[in-house]
Each structure stands twice: as C-alpha cells, then as structure tokens.
Amino acid sequence: MSRSAILKSSLAKKYWMSATGLFLCVFLLGHLAGNLQLFMEGAAGEYQFNQYAKFMTTNPAVKLLSYLTYASILFHAIDGLLLTIQNKKARPVNYAVFKASANSTWASRNMGVLGTVLLAFIVTHMTNFWAVMHWGEMPMQTVDPEGKLLEEPLKNLHMVVMNFFNPAENSLALLATVLYVLSMVAIGFHLSHGFHSAFQSLGLRTGKYGKLIMVAGKVFAIVVPALFAIIPLYLYFIQA
C-alpha cells in the first residue's frame, strides 16, 4: 500500500477505525476492573482503591498504555468524523422517502452521533477525575486501614469519587449520575454495532465465527456498560 493509501483508501480508514475501536474495547475492560473496586467497603476499600489509582498514574507500562489510549481516542474520533463527512457527501440529494429502518439498525446508522456523545462524555469525565488527579487539589489519605501512619500519603481519589456522587457534597450529584448512566447507554448502542462491525472491517466476521462474534458483541454491549453504570447509581444511593 502506498503511504498515502494507508490513510486515504476507504478500506484503510476502516482498518484504523476497527483497530482503534477494538483497542478501546479492551481499554474499557481494564477501566471497568478498576472501577469495580469501588464496591469494596470501608477503610480497606478506600486504601485499595487509592493504591490502585497511584499505580495507574505512576507505573511506566501503564503510562505507555495510557498514551496509546489517548492516541486511539483521538485517531478514532478524527477518522470517524472524516468517514461521516465523506459519507454525507456521497449522497448530495436526499431521498424524499427513505425507509432505513426496514434494513438496518438505528445504532448502525448513528455511529457518528453516538460517537460525538461519547467524546463529550470522555472530555467531561476526564475533567472531573483525571485532570483533578493529575493537577488538581486532592484530599490525602495519611493512614492505612489499620490506622498506621503512611510513609508517603496517598492522593485520595476514592474520596473525590465518593463526594462527586454524594448529594450532600455535590449539588449536581443527581445530574452527574443521570448523565453518566445515559452515556453508558450511548456506549451500549455504539458497541451494539461497533463490536461486530470492527470484526467485519477486518474481514474476520465470517463463517462459523461470524455468529459467535454477533452474540459476543451483543453480550459485550450490554454487560460492560451496565456494570459501569451500576457503580455511580450505587454510590449515589448509598449516600443519598
């Protein structure tokens, strides 16, 4: 493939879309595993979560992965935008009647809209937690669960998260919880098409594995966003 074709050809754009999209699916699994630790209760849970947060911001291997993630999101969003614009241009005059619901799913036709919602969510989400953890003023955890003084105090991300979804601490906690859950619904729809579409773009959704990928995609698109969404709901209701 000539160097320009790597970016320009319609199929190459889809390979990139697919590769970055699937990488982001793997990222979601990792992120989910981290978030689920918020279900651990008491001082032990807090300590565990803060140690995990520290590991995630300092470990060099994780650093590398995080840069790959930022790049993937950026590339995925730009490539997706290009695809959407080009595809609009490919039909300059619209049909008076277009019965798309007869032959395709709503999600498959609205990946650009869903993606834009996700981008807005990612930016807000990173402002709320990631930016605070990196540059903001953080409460510190100074003692471990047994009450021993820590040699090096830990940034208390656990407290930031708990407070964020606590109506007594954050007047927008209810709104934040609702928007978070809605964003997870958007991810669910994005993945209900995106997961199997990514395999199709690589030519892998075929033969006997084709059906398996369709089923796996449905399961992934429901289970992963649902688990993400339960966490803020849980944090809100135990504190409300």
Binding site: K8, K89, R91, K99, Q200, G203
Partner: protein, 250 residues
C-alpha cells in the same frame, strides 16, 4: 386499484428536479410495477406530455436495469426481487407510492428515474476480469478441480446483476457489496488467482475515485439486494485488500 404516484421528474443533470403527482386508475394487482409505469406513461402521452423516463430491459430480474427507489426502498418493499419482479398486489387500493431514482453522487441522474451507472463499468475495467487467452487453445474449465464449496460461493457472488440497489439503499452510498461480489467471484477460483492482488487494489482505488461512500457495515445492502449477495463477500474483500496492501508485489 387506484393509486396516487409521486414521481421524481428531472429534465437532465442540470435541472433541480421535483416530485410530481399522478393518478392512475384500474391497475390490475397482477401487473408488475413496470407495467403499471407503462400505463402511467400511456396516459401522459395521450395528454401530450413528456412520459417518465425509466430504465428497463429484460423484465425478468436478470439485467439489473430497472432502478427505482419505491416508498423508501430500492426496488420497493419486496425481498430478493427487482422492480420488474415487484407485483402491484404488494400495494393496496388508494395507496400513495413515492418513486425516486437511485441517489448517489456516483450515479448522477440523466433524466427522471434514469441514472448513469457507468461508474460500475469503470470499476470492472479496473480489474474485474481474468486475462485469459481465448485464441482457441483455452483449457477446458472442467479440467481444473475446484472444491464444491468454493464453486458454490463463487457462483453466488457471480449472480450479482450490477443493478446498484446496494449503493442506492446504503446510507453512505457505498459500493462495497457490488465490488466485493465482483472480487469474490474471481478470487475464489484458480483462474482468478494470478491477478488477485492487483484486482483488489485497483478495483477499490477506482471505487473510491468514483465518489462512492465508505462502508460502515450497516448491512442494508444485503437486505435490499435482489440477488441476496451476502455480507460474507464484503468480509472477503476486506481480507483480500488487506492481504494485497501488505504484500503488493505478490
């Protein structure tokens, strides 16, 4: 049956075009959609006006000419059929039917419902062939053993009639189903193997040049295709192109 038709009228590529209303009466439910269009045109001609231009040829579902976007679907509401195979019994007395041309930048309107689909021809010319010597000493095809499964898949792909319904129905006006069928019918057979790499590269390059959109795997094409060409072919084209891109010299 009495029907109201909203037909796209456009006098040449530079005209803006508009939907015009017509009434047709006493349409038999056993007529094909094209026969109903003939009745409409007779009526228009008697009034001394310009009949609706539309493409048609075989009227038996094999030539792919009869491009009409009917009530929001390519070739109308039926599955696995062309417009000439659509019967009026599909509709009800008193219905309003919208009839539009294929709409895509790559298929410009020539007049009314007739579009220029020569973009497909140029894609075929870019690589959708096998360069064999036909000077009289051609090998008998039956002398080449081909697995039944491959032969069946190649045959299924080869049933594509180049109608363009896949492009018309795709929200992106993508030609992937057509191109993938044309690549598959040759890639699956030993005769097509020597030119496999250049074929995939050149046909996709031409497809992009013609201004078709990018496939986003909505799957609408497979549903609306009169020959029910499978999305498996698009998966195969994605593999063929990836393989050819990684190793263009093979």
């Amino acid at each position: 049956m009495n029907l109201t038709l909203k037909v796209w009228r456009q006098n040449g590529a530079n005209d803006k075009g508009r939907l015009e209303s017509y009434q047709v009466k006493d349409i038999s439910p056993d007529m094909s959609f094209l026969e109903m269009m003939d009745v409409l045109n007779d009526q228009i001609i008697v009034e001394g006006k310009d009949p609706v231009a539309f493409d048609h040829d075989c009227r038996e579902g094999i030539c792919g000419s009869c491009s009409m976007f009917i009530n929001g679907e390519a070739h109308g509401p039926g599955r696995g059929i062309t417009t000439c195979q659509l019967h009026m019994r599909t509709f009800n007395d008193g219905d309003t039917i919208y009839i539009e041309p294929w709409r895509a930048a790559a298929f410009p309107v020539i007049k009314d419902l007739v579009t220029d689909r020569s973009a497909f021809d140029r894609i075929i010319q870019a690589g959708g062939y096998v360069s064999v010597n036909t000077s009289g000493n051609t090998q008998d095809a039956n002398a080449l053993p081909i697995p039944k499964d491959d032969a069946d898949k190649a045959f299924d792909a080869a049933t594509c009639i180049g109608c363009g319904a896949c492009v018309a129905t795709c929200k992106n006006s993508s030609a992937m189903l057509f191109v993938s069928a044309k690549v598959s019918q040759l890639a699956l057979l030993p005769q097509g193997d020597p030119e496999r790499t250049t074929r995939a590269l050149h046909m996709v390059e031409q497809m992009d040049k013609e201004g078709f959109g990018n496939c986003t795997n909505t799957g609408a094409c497979e549903v609306e295709c009169p020959k029910e060409i499978s999305l498996e072919n698009i998966a195969r084209l994605n593999r063929e192109y990836l393989r050819a891109s990684v190793n263009p010299d093979k």
